[in-house]
């Protein structure tokens, strides 16, 4: 028994050291990346870009399912984005509420025949509508098939070479598209670009725009502000220097349409369609030795409403982790496979062992420590010290994300918001982290069910001034 506990302890310790060293590496790599991106963002001549016809036309894909409450405001906000050449394809995925009626009424829709081939198979279309009021808008009404199916239907209908998937409940900043096309303007071999998603809860929203960014006072959404900062500002930025992330947020990511066609669009069987899409994209481009970049830039911002109740948050996190497990299992052939370059040798192992298995190892760690303490094999003060170091490291990472935010974009102007950010970064480790571990752990039990849903979330709606 004692040998077993000791061996497990050592394994967990090594896992902890390797993983945290890797996090430290990401953190270090994020510094030059954010420096470069901030400089480029500050020096960009948006006035000139807005007047230029050089920027590539973009199709914005908006899948909508039971979005009656927010669809009109969301589409109106998207229609007023600062970008010269774009169209919007909204897909009503057989909503049970009056999403389509709202759209029809708000934008004076009229039915038109379908004028494009069905390059990617989807659920049957009921009708295609154009708007008399806004010529940039196309609305597709189709049988319910899930978010991935809706996105595929929107890709089929899109006319432009770049497509961006945006959730109907996401608020895009007016200049976000302009900023998002920077990598294309800088001449990279770009396959996809991701922008930052921030938490809209607590912010003041007027006409579909976040006019006053605030850190929510409520604990749960407040903690998620720090989580999002950490995920985007150092996680994904660090990955830029390591061959590209495996995740471009489904709520805000720009893709080359020809590549999406080549891989057959979004996989309708996938639980988390964005992760699966990016992994398949990496796989496709690596196998064909096509030079490419899947990059993340931090200054284009989209705002999203995050769950405020434990019940909905737990469902969301469980679904995300279920998607991660399913994705890693599905693409296990890429793991440690040199054919896939850094994606196979670095990104896939990290996401499999560092992200997917992390909750299992963490719970095992807690369990073994408790067992060791019970049998007197592990020294109490040593165990507490170890726990302190592990938690302290988590705190450091969160706080570092706040440092990056402060050194670069400083969206939260008020001193009170800054204090709250620091507080949440410190408190996240105590209780909240363990909860997320539990939710992610549950995903291991439910992953075999192959549930595919829209990930229902009760929307509270954005606060108005």
């Amino acid at each position: 028994m004692s040998v077993l506990i000791h061996t497990t302890d050592v394994v967990i310790l090594v896992y902890f050291l390797v993983l945290n060293t890797f996090y430290a590496l990401l953190l270090v790599l994020a510094i030059p990346e954010i420096w470069e991106q901030t400089r480029l963002a500050e020096d960009e001549d948006f006035q000139r870009l807005m007047q230029s016809d050089a920027l590539p036309p973009i199709t914005i894909l908006v899948p909508a399912y039971n979005e009656s409450a927010t669809i009109e405001a969301s589409v109106t906000a998207i229609l007023t984005l600062e970008y010269r050449n774009f169209e919007i394809v909204v897909v009503n995925d057989g909503s049970k509420d009056d999403t389509l009626e709202r759209l029809r009424h708000a934008f004076d829709l009229y039915e038109v025949p379908r004028t494009y081939p069905e390059a990617i198979a989807t659920q049957p279309l009921r009708a295609v509508y154009r708007s008399r009021a806004r010529t940039r808008l196309l609305v597709i009404d189709k049988e319910n098939g899930g978010k991935a199916d809706s996105l595929n239907a929107a890709i089929n209908a899109s006319r432009f070479p770049l497509v961006i998937a945006v959730d109907a409940d996401t608020l895009i900043e007016p200049d976000a598209l302009l900023r998002l096309t920077r990598p294309f303007l800088l001449g990279g071999q770009i396959a996809a670009v991701g922008g930052t998603v921030r938490v809209a809860n607590g912010c003041t929203v007027a006409d579909g725009r976040v006019t006053d960014a605030r850190v929510p006072r409520a604990f749960l959404p407040g903690i998620q502000v720090v989580e999002y900062l950490r995920a985007f500002l150092f996680g994904r930025l660090g990955w830029n220097r390591l061959g590209g992330s495996l995740v471009i947020s489904g709520a805000f990511g720009l893709f080359r349409k020809d590549y999406l066609h080549a891989i057959g669009g979004y996989d309708v069987a996938s639980v988390v369609e964005d992760l699966d899409l990016v992994v398949r994209l990496h796989g496709y481009l690596q196998r064909r030795k096509i030079p490419y970049e899947i990059t993340f830039i931090p200054d284009p911002v989209a705002w999203t409403e995050v769950p405020e109740s434990l019940r909905i948050l737990s469902r969301q996190r469980e679904r995300w982790h279920r998607g991660l497990i399913a994705g890693m299992w599905r693409h296990k052939g890429m793991l440690f496979n040199p054919r896939y370059g850094r994606v196979g040798l670095v990104a896939m192992p990290f996401f499999t062992f560092g992200e997917m298995l992390a909750p299992l190892v963490e719970v095992l760690g807690y369990g073994i420590t408790a067992l060791g303490l019970t049998y007197g094999i592990v020294n109490t003060s040593f165990a507490l010290l170890f726990l302190l170091v592990a938690w302290g490291y988590g705190m450091l990472l969160s706080l570092w994300a706040v440092v990056l935010e402060e050194a670069s974009f400083r969206r939260y102007r008020r001193a009170g918001d800054l204090v709250r950010l620091i507080l949440y970064a410190m408190l996240e480790t105590f209780g909240y982290r363990q909860l997320t571990v539990w939710w992610r752990l549950r995903a291991f039990a439910t992953v075999w069910k192959h549930t595919r849903r829209w990930g229902d979330m009760t929307r509270k709606g954005f606060s108005t001034p």
């Binding site: 001549d45 230029s52 590539p56 800088l186 001449g187 040593f382 010290l385 170890f386 706040v402 440092v403």
Partner: protein, 353 residues
């Protein structure tokens, strides 16, 4: 050292780092606020002086003084903002005056800096205040290894119409991505005479693998003097070249364009046929109606779509052709005609765009 001692040291180091980070966050916020409070009034002051100068109510010296009081990035930002608002000659006067300022000389010297952001700063500065003396610097920045610097330097071409710079930009053009190429095209439009001269030479390099990109760029200029060059290239063995030629010729309603397009509409490559059909629709010469009507029976969906849309542009005759096809024997032409005739005028306009 025991593992416990090691952990203790790590814990203490972490605690210290945590404290340091919190202090750093607070200090950073405080310093930035102080700096903003100091600099912001100066920027407002400069805007007022600029406004007065633009209206002829103050001298350039006052503007230069105001600029000198600002931190460099803010001064450049102000120059970029105001360059779009002040008339050309008046702005040139300021650009010339700036040549003698020490800080402007320092910025110019940064064109050789080892740090890319310094070179970018210089390129942005020159993009609004470059004079003929800066041609060498701009040339170096145009060939910079950092794409952001190249891009900012390319903007200078609007201001300094030097043949040397135009040639350098055009030589680079085929190696650029489509978006960057389009950006170059937009800035090179102002330096038109030098660009056209050089393009005509490039058109003669028939074996040049960069030819499709050069033609694509030339097509964006909508320049009639290039039409002859386009028609000559209609028989080029490279399909991509013919596609670009077919696309460009639609903008030039001329007998030779029509002849070339009538030839290209029967090309083996469907992208060439699609572009030629589209261009014939843009010119809408009634003599080409049969060719476009035939394209409605093309095996490729995109060519049929282009043909359907092109027929609409032929007016009543084209519409009649579509109505005939809608009840004709060819199933695919029938389907396409039905689809096109069902489109609203708004949708048609959008497709034609």
């Amino acid at each position: 050292m025991t593992s416990r001692q090691f952990l203790l040291i790590v814990a203490i180091a972490q605690g210290t780092l945590l404290l340091a980070l919190v202090t750093l966050i607070i200090l950073n916020r405080w310093i930035r606020l102080r700096r903003k409070a100091r600099v912001h009034p100066r920027r407002l002051e400069l805007d007022a002086v600029m406004q007065a100068w633009a209206m002829g109510q103050s001298s350039p010296d006052e503007v230069l003084q105001g600029l000198g009081r600002l931190p460099l990035p803010l001064a450049i930002e102000a120059l970029v903002t105001w360059s779009a608002r002040v008339a050309g000659e008046r702005w040139q006067e300021l650009a010339r005056a700036l040549e003698n300022r020490w800080w402007a000389r320092a910025v110019r010297a940064n064109s050789r800096s080892a740090r890319w952001w310094k070179r970018l700063e210089c390129a942005r500065f020159l993009s609004v205040v470059a004079t003929t003396h800066d041609v060498g610097r701009v040339l170096r920045l145009l060939r910079d290894r950092h794409p952001a610097v190249q891009l900012a330097a390319a903007t200078t071409l609007e201001r300094v119409g030097s043949p040397v710079l135009v040639t350098a930009a055009l030589e680079q053009l085929p190696f650029l991505g489509p978006t960057v190429q389009a950006y170059y095209a937009s800035v090179l439009k102002r330096a038109r005479p030098a660009v056209l001269r050089h393009l005509k030479q490039l058109f003669r390099r028939l074996d040049d693998p960069r030819l499709p990109r050069i033609i694509e760029f030339a097509g964006r200029l909508d320049e009639p003097v290039l039409r002859e060059g386009f028609t000559t290239l209609a028989t080029h063995p490279e399909a991509e070249v013919r596609t670009q030629v077919a696309r460009a010729l639609g903008k030039f309603p001329h007998a030779e364009s029509v002849a070339a397009l009538s030839f290209l509409v029967h090309d083996d490559a469907w992208p060439v046929r699609a572009q030629a059909t589209r261009s014939l629709g843009m010119i809408a010469d009634q003599n080409t109606l049969p060719a476009v009507r035939d394209a409605l029976r093309d095996p490729e969906w995109w060519v049929r779509l282009r043909a359907g849309l092109a027929l609409i542009r032929f007016g009543a005759a084209g519409r009649n052709a579509l109505l005939e096809a809608e009840v004709g024997a060819h199933a695919e032409a029938r389907a396409m005609a039905g689809l096109i005739l069902g489109l609203s005028s708004q949708a048609l306009a959008e497709y034609a765009a």
